[in-house]
């Protein structure tokens, strides 16, 4: 059943009695062509594109909790394509293009809001590095432009241009970047996949991965054994544990990233503003809350919560950059588990076990990647060949040193990306 304004009108006039479940709750079958471990954004989009692009619909998505309960439901909802290293550039470029048609594709309003993102810089050196990035984005065919302080003052009049600790020299803007309603992305993909015949199975935790002669044969779950020709591990936040079930030790360290939202306020911040030097970024949700975040808590953690030093540091960055938010009140804080990789870039690859695929290591770039990640992972699962835009997300790059994508230039220490 399609969603539309007319439908909302019709239902409204007839007591809203005609609405149906957005997706089916399926009970596990004994065998599937593909089993996807993880009902988060990436798992659901992978299932959707398997069905839509490759006609593979005998697919189960196994979620230990509720759909979209992981990082897709606990992030700062930013969508952008402003990476500059080969590998990342083409991948995020592709993902952004998918975002731009997602609502029509899914018939679900994920509220993609291309309000523009501005990355500020605070020295000549930072300007040069940002220019290199902006030109790489343009070489990739995406939009980027340098904004002078004058242009910034017109666009972001509320920044402190006089007193702030690290003076603002300008900004790199991507107009096509913006935000989206994070939960809706998961629900929209779930609905789309379900409508195409994919089984979405909640409260079903995978406890083992069955292998025979170097080939994957299925999974053990809290709801029984399920045979599968192919299995994909798409469980950012728990990648190391699930991979261990298949005897793998991953180049991943799990860290907590906190995010914050204030009480609802009338519109005051119209863009996504990133203050890299202060590890601070902010936007305002359509409901009026200021949604913002900062750096990792910096210690390995699965607790989905953080501590005060980072909370305070984020607020301090906000106060030096845009002191007009001082009287906005922090309403809620939460933490997500980040798969931190040694170069800050993700992994979409086959494994040594035939039929077993891996999608992990998104650090904190996972949300904007949801469409592209699912698209490329589905391609890899269906065709056994790498999808061009994600071809560099190989697992062996750390051993060989080939094609590392260290955007931050901070090296192999997992938590520095």
């Amino acid at each position: 059943m399609g969603f539309s304004g007319w439908r909302v009108l019709k239902e409204g006039l007839t007591g809203n009695k005609g609405w149906q479940p957005h997706w089916r709750d399926a009970t596990p079958k004994s065998e599937y062509d593909v089993v996807i471990i993880g009902g988060g954004g990436h798992g659901l989009s992978t299932a959707y594109y398997l069905a839509k692009n490759h006609g593979i619909t005998n697919v189960a998505v196994l979620e230990k909790g509720y759909l979209g309960g992981g990082n897709v439901g606990r992030n700062t909802t930013i969508v952008r394509a402003n990476y500059f290293l080969p590998g990342n550039s083409e991948f995020y470029s592709h993902s952004l293009k998918l975002w731009e048609n997602l609502e029509q594709d899914l018939n679900y309003n994920v509220m993609l809001s291309q309000r523009g993102q501005i990355m500020l810089f605070h020295s000549d050196g930072q300007r040069d590095a940002m220019a290199r990035r902006g030109n790489a984005i343009r070489n990739q065919g995406d939009d980027a432009e340098i904004l002078s302080v004058g242009a910034l003052k017109r666009m972001l009049p509320y920044l402190d241009y006089e007193q702030t600790r690290f003076p603002i020299y300008g900004g790199l803007m991507q107009r096509r970047a913006g935000t989206a309603r994070h939960d809706a992305v998961a629900w929209g993909y779930a609905r789309g996949a379900s409508e195409r015949g994919v089984d979405l199975i909640q409260n079903c935790e995978v406890t083992g991965i069955d292998r025979e002669g170097g080939r994957v044969t299925g999974v053990q779950t809290t709801r029984g054994a399920i045979r599968a020709k192919k299995v994909a591990i798409i469980v950012a936040g728990r990648s190391s544990q699930v991979a261990a079930m298949a005897g793998m030790r991953l180049p991943i360290e799990s860290h907590v990233l906190q995010a914050f939202v204030t009480e609802g306020l009338k519109p005051v911040i119209d863009h996504v503003v990133s203050f890299g030097m202060g590890h601070f970024y902010i936007s305002q949700s359509d409901k009026g809350g200021l949604v913002f975040g900062g750096d990792l808590d910096m210690y390995a953690s699965y607790a989905q919560r953080g501590n005060l030093p980072i909370v305070e540091h984020v607020m301090e960055a906000g106060m030096t950059l845009m002191p007009m938010i001082g009287k906005a009140k922090l309403l809620r804080s939460w933490g997500g588990i980040m798969d931190m990789s040694p170069d800050g870039s993700p992994i979409i690859d086959k494994t040594d076990t035939e039929g077993l695929f891996l999608n992990c290591g998104w650090c904190y770039g996972g949300f904007k990647a949801v469409p592209g990640s699912g698209y490329s992972t589905a391609h890899l699962i269906a065709t056994e060949t790498h999808h061009a835009p994600a071809a560099r997300y190989r697992l062996d790059r750390f051993r060989t040193g080939r094609g590392l994508m260290d955007e931050e230039g901070t090296g192999s220490q997992h938590n520095l990306h």
Binding site: P86, V110, R132, F166, V268
Partner: protein
């Protein structure tokens, strides 16, 4: 309406204030809410979505409706709870989220469109036409949403942060908390007692109970007086503990009393980081509303709030009051109201078995099914076994029972457990290590029980601390049993509110369930229930109950309630106190700072440091003029530059040389005494971390220099290598960056200048030599090194002489047609020479990339050497450091531009490299650049295309050796 009675307001201190421009009067001790009720104002706000008229629902920080904006301009503060806002002279409050006025709000049309605006409607529409979302739909939604507004002006108030430490933190100063504090204090603990209210006592301030033979509030005051007198107790009122964190750390927000906050230098709020050995959570409970049709009408309040306004503030929302409840609390309300001479038009007790000994129209087993009156309650419709009847009332005191304040026990992932007897969630035991829950927060609802439970919790804390409890007698207090008949939502037509502020009704939750948002997390996210400013304090449990009913599950099977920090919203200014303006990061000033400023130099940030950009002279109107002059000055005469910001590390010990061999690619154990060597430091992953020179001052004594940017990282790295990789090495090191003020003296006349300063014998150093020297009896160090490519020295003196030496060096240089030079010139000088900075060693380059592969000693291991051998770093064609010069018409080579083969299209697939640094070189009379180019070293002399899309540059340049001036380095060695 204000009535007689002995509450906690001071009728001798009248206070005038304004609400929506209108002047009113109240008393000291009032909150804005109590003062408005005293002035018969019942309409205080509008709801988020439907803009329904709303009055005050509660008397505490959980208030969802009565939110106002205070102050003007930079002082404007939105979403202030009228229920906790202390009245003060001159207070100006404004209602929110309405236009044009609170009484007449055009956005209230949303209420009529409600059938189309149900839960999640926006996910199903606004998708066509595509372009309309950003242009039309979203702006409309954004403007309708939100509550109060920020002024957009920079905060102008002071906020502060502080740390506190104690043995026992007691959270909440009601009976349980007061007694827990007493037990802890008597046992000799350092105690901190926090309460968000202006005065301790909790519910005792709102009820007509006696404790220890006194009125409850008096007893509380007497306990507080006793605690204060003991000296080991710190009582923090107006302080809400907002979060429980690891290791016994708690966050707390203190609002300073208005009269204190107005003093010069005072903060409005202070955010406390409290570290406690043990803690007692005695945060009480919050009364829950009942969902029935139109239960959001102004005048409908929780019964506890009605009693609080009556007993503490002596105000009432009406003369005719109906009381609706499902416990004995309802009867308590009637008793208090009648005692105050108010008319109770009905007592509706949901419990079929209830009896009543009061003189009041009594309905057992009945329910309130509807409310009448739009902007203020006029009547309630009650449904009994006999049928439906209407009862006049301007105020309804409703109670669905109480929810223990379990919030802090959820902050570390604890999940509250359902207690069937009290039909509420209670804390999961041990959810927060070292936190003991007591009193109503644990579901103990009578005063005697709370006192005893406070004792129990305190003694548990004492035991954990290994301390003995003191013998203290519990005071007499009322006991009562809690007999509840759960009522969540009254069946019937129309909309019944669960989440008042976000306009989430019973219908919405049922609709969500139908659409398969059956998990409580899905329901919340789909309906936005619990996401308003009260964070679900008033609605979580009832919404869960409704969802359970809609999905045919029991409440515990359906899920639980949880809360994340903060317990109450906290201003960003408090959490970020001290950081506004320059406070975000400490500032570091060199000894020559004032002299540079005096010479008109613009000072620019270099990490935390400030360094001079250039030294303008009369007639120079553009930085380039100054920069070019300073470059030529150094090339032709002599320049002086403060290089003190570079990291300096003093390294001593028998293994100092071996240690340096481990951290540098090159060999330092073989460096001769009195000599300096350039060193390259790798990260363990094989990429370049930092570079700098290291001097051997003595047999076992080296001085290492690092770049300004990496000084901290290098010290951390050295400590790591020593402590974690080779602790057997006998070496000691310490930062001497701040001990020595160090100045570069560079140029053909540098030697002449230093000869005058030090005498010829002291200056007689070979290139890359170093030694101790004396200037007027002052011990100094001289290094013959150069970052400019000229004959150069760096001279270091104890920092106390830095300012004076800089002045003298400048004078001596000026006497030789030289003078000081700044960062801009320094940058040009090093680009001309192809010397690298972190613009080049940006964390992704190898020693080989920058042409220093040969510096990785084959004779020894060093950090980073094994991983630098990875094929991707050592074998493949990589981007290598090159120099660039313009050939085309356009004479710009902007840093950040990318490089392509001549004639190739400027697109990602063709990318060959990029420019890292660029300048105009007066020495070469050309723009010069450094950059990285694929296989660049093999391509000197080639023409490449340079494209900067961002700044519209597209030109041809020639690839060169990075060293574009004085290639053989003869000038340095002179």
């Amino acid at each position: 309406m204000r009535i007689d009675g002995k509450g906690l307001i001071d009728r001798r201190k009248p206070i005038s204030f304004r609400f929506d421009g209108q002047r009113y009067d109240g008393f000291a001790g009032d909150t804005l809410a109590s003062a408005l009720l005293a002035n018969d104002i019942r309409l205080m706000g509008r709801s988020f979505k439907y803009h329904r008229p709303r009055g005050v629902l509660t008397a505490g920080s959980e208030e969802p409706n009565a939110l106002v904006t205070t102050g003007l301009g930079p002082a404007q503060e939105p979403n202030v709870r009228a229920t906790t806002l202390e009245l003060y002279e001159g207070l100006m409050a404004r209602s929110q989220n309405r236009w044009p006025s609170l009484g007449f709000d055009l956005m209230a049309v949303n209420d009529l469109a409600a059938p189309f605006l149900g839960a999640g409607f926006y996910y199903k529409t606004f998708m066509w036409p595509k372009a309309f979302w950003e242009k039309i739909y979203e702006p409309v939604i954004r403007n309708a949403a939100g509550l109060g507004a920020l002024s957009g002006e920079a905060n102008s108030d002071k906020y502060e942060k502080a740390f506190a430490h104690c043995d026992l933190l007691v959270i909440g100063a009601g009976p349980a908390g007061l007694w827990a504090a007493m037990e802890g204090a008597r046992a000799g603990l350092d105690v901190i007692l926090c309460d968000e209210d202006t005065q301790p006592g909790g519910r005792l301030n709102a009820e007509t109970e006696t404790v220890g033979g006194m009125a409850g509030a008096e007893w509380a005051a007497s306990v507080v007086a006793e605690l204060r007198a003991m000296g080991n107790v710190r009582i923090m009122t107006r302080t809400a503990v907002i979060g429980a964190y690891d290791g016994g750390t708690y966050g707390a927000l203190e609002r300073l009393a208005p009269e204190v906050a107005q003093r010069p230098g005072a903060a409005r709020e202070c955010f406390w980081r409290i570290t406690a050995g043990q803690a007692v959570l005695a945060a009480g409970a919050i009364e829950r509303p009942v969902a029935f049709r139109n239960n959001d009408r102004p005048g409908i309040m929780t019964a506890g709030a009605v009693r609080a306004y009556l007993n503490r503030w002596n105000v009432t929302a009406g003369r005719n009051i109906a009381v609706y409840g499902n416990t004995d609390e309802a009867h308590r309300s009637v008793r208090d109201l009648q005692a105050a001479g108010l008319h109770v038009s009905a007592l509706i007790d949901a419990r079929p078995h209830a009896t009543c000994d009061l003189d009041v129209p009594f309905f057992a087993g009945a329910e309130v099914s509807n409310a009448e009156g739009r902007q203020a309650l006029e009547a309630v419709e009650i449904r009994t076994a006999k049928g439906v009847e209407k009862i006049r009332a301007e105020c309804l005191a409703m109670s669905g029972g109480w929810n223990p304040n379990v919030h802090l026990t959820c902050h570390m992932g604890g999940r509250p457990v359902w207690d069937r007897d009290i039909a509420a969630f209670v804390p999961q035991p041990g959810a927060v290590p070292g936190l003991h829950v007591a009193g109503a927060a644990r579901g103990v609802f009578d005063t005697a029980g709370c006192l005893a439970d406070g004792r129990r919790a305190a003694r548990a804390a004492l035991e954990a601390l290994g301390r003995k409890a003191a013998e203290v007698d519990l005071p007499e207090a009322e006991t009562a049993r809690y007999d509840i008949w759960p009522v969540w939502a009254v069946p019937g037509k129309g909309r019944a509110w669960l989440d008042f502020q976000n306009d989430v009704t019973v219908k919405d939750v049922r609709q969500a369930a139908v659409e398969n948002f059956r998990s409580v997390e899905h329901m919340k996210r789909y309906t936005t229930q619990g996401m308003a400013t009260d964070q679900g304090k008033n609605s979580n449990v009832a919404a869960l109950a409704v969802l359970a009913d809609a999905t045919g599950r029991g409440i515990p099977e359906t899920g639980t309630t949880t809360f994340r920090p903060p317990f109450v919203p906290v201003s960003i200014a408090a959490l970020g106190a001290g950081a506004q303006g320059k406070g975000f990061a400490p500032q570091r000033f060199t000894t020559s700072h004032d002299a540079s400023v005096a010479r008109g130099a613009p000072m620019i940030e270099a990490g935390l440091w400030y360094r001079p950009s250039y030294f303008p002279q009369a007639g120079e109107t553009h930085w380039r003029q100054s920069c070019d002059r300073e470059v030529q000055m150094v090339r032709r005469a002599v320049g002086v530059s403060d290089v003190s910001t570079l990291g300096k590390i003093d390294i001593q010990g028998p293994d100092a040389g071996a240690f340096l061999d481990m951290v540098y690619t090159g060999m330092f154990s073989t460096l001769k005494e009195g000599r300096v060597r350039y060193g390259l430091m790798l990260r363990e992953d094989g990429y370049v971390m930092d570079d700098g020179t290291t001097a051997r001052m003595g047999a076992d004594h080296y001085v290492m220099t690092t770049t300004t940017a990496a000084a901290g990282q290098v010290m951390r790295h050295l400590d790591f290598v020593h402590q974690c990789l080779c602790p057997q090495m006998d070496v000691r090191f310490i930062s001497v960056t701040e001990q020595w003020a160090q100045f570069a003296v560079a140029g053909p006349k540098a030697r002449d200048l230093l000869t005058e300063l030090l005498g010829a014998d002291q200056v007689d150093l070979p290139f890359m030599g170093c030694g101790a020297v004396r200037i007027d009896e002052i011990d100094a160090r001289l290094f013959r090194i150069s970052f400019s490519g000229e004959a150069g020295y760096e001279i270091a003196v104890p920092a106390r002489y830095g300012a004076a030496l800089f002045e003298r060096l400048c004078e001596m240089a000026e006497a030789r047609d030289g003078g000081p030079y700044g960062m801009e010139a320094l940058n040009v000088l090093r680009i001309e020479k192809g010397f690298i900075t972190h613009a080049e060693i940006h964390g992704r380059v190898t020693a080989k990339d920058i042409g220093m592969g040969g510096m990785v000693s084959a004779k020894k291991d060093c950090v980073g050497k094994p991983m630098a051998a990875r094929p991707g770093l050592s074998e493949d064609l990589r981007e290598e450091l090159v120099g660039l010069r313009p050939l085309g018409e356009i004479k710009e080579l902007p840093a950040g531009a990318h490089l392509f083969d001549e004639g190739a299209e400027a697109m990602a697939e063709n990318d060959q490299g990029y420019v890292t640094s660029s300048c105009y070189s007066p020495s070469c009379e050309s723009v010069l650049a450094l950059g990285f180019l694929k296989n660049g070293r093999a391509r000197h002399g080639e023409r490449v295309r340079l494209v900067d899309h961002l700044r519209g540059v597209d030109t041809i340049c020639e690839v060169q050796d990075p060293v574009q001036f004085d290639a053989d380095g003869g000038r340095m060695r002179d």
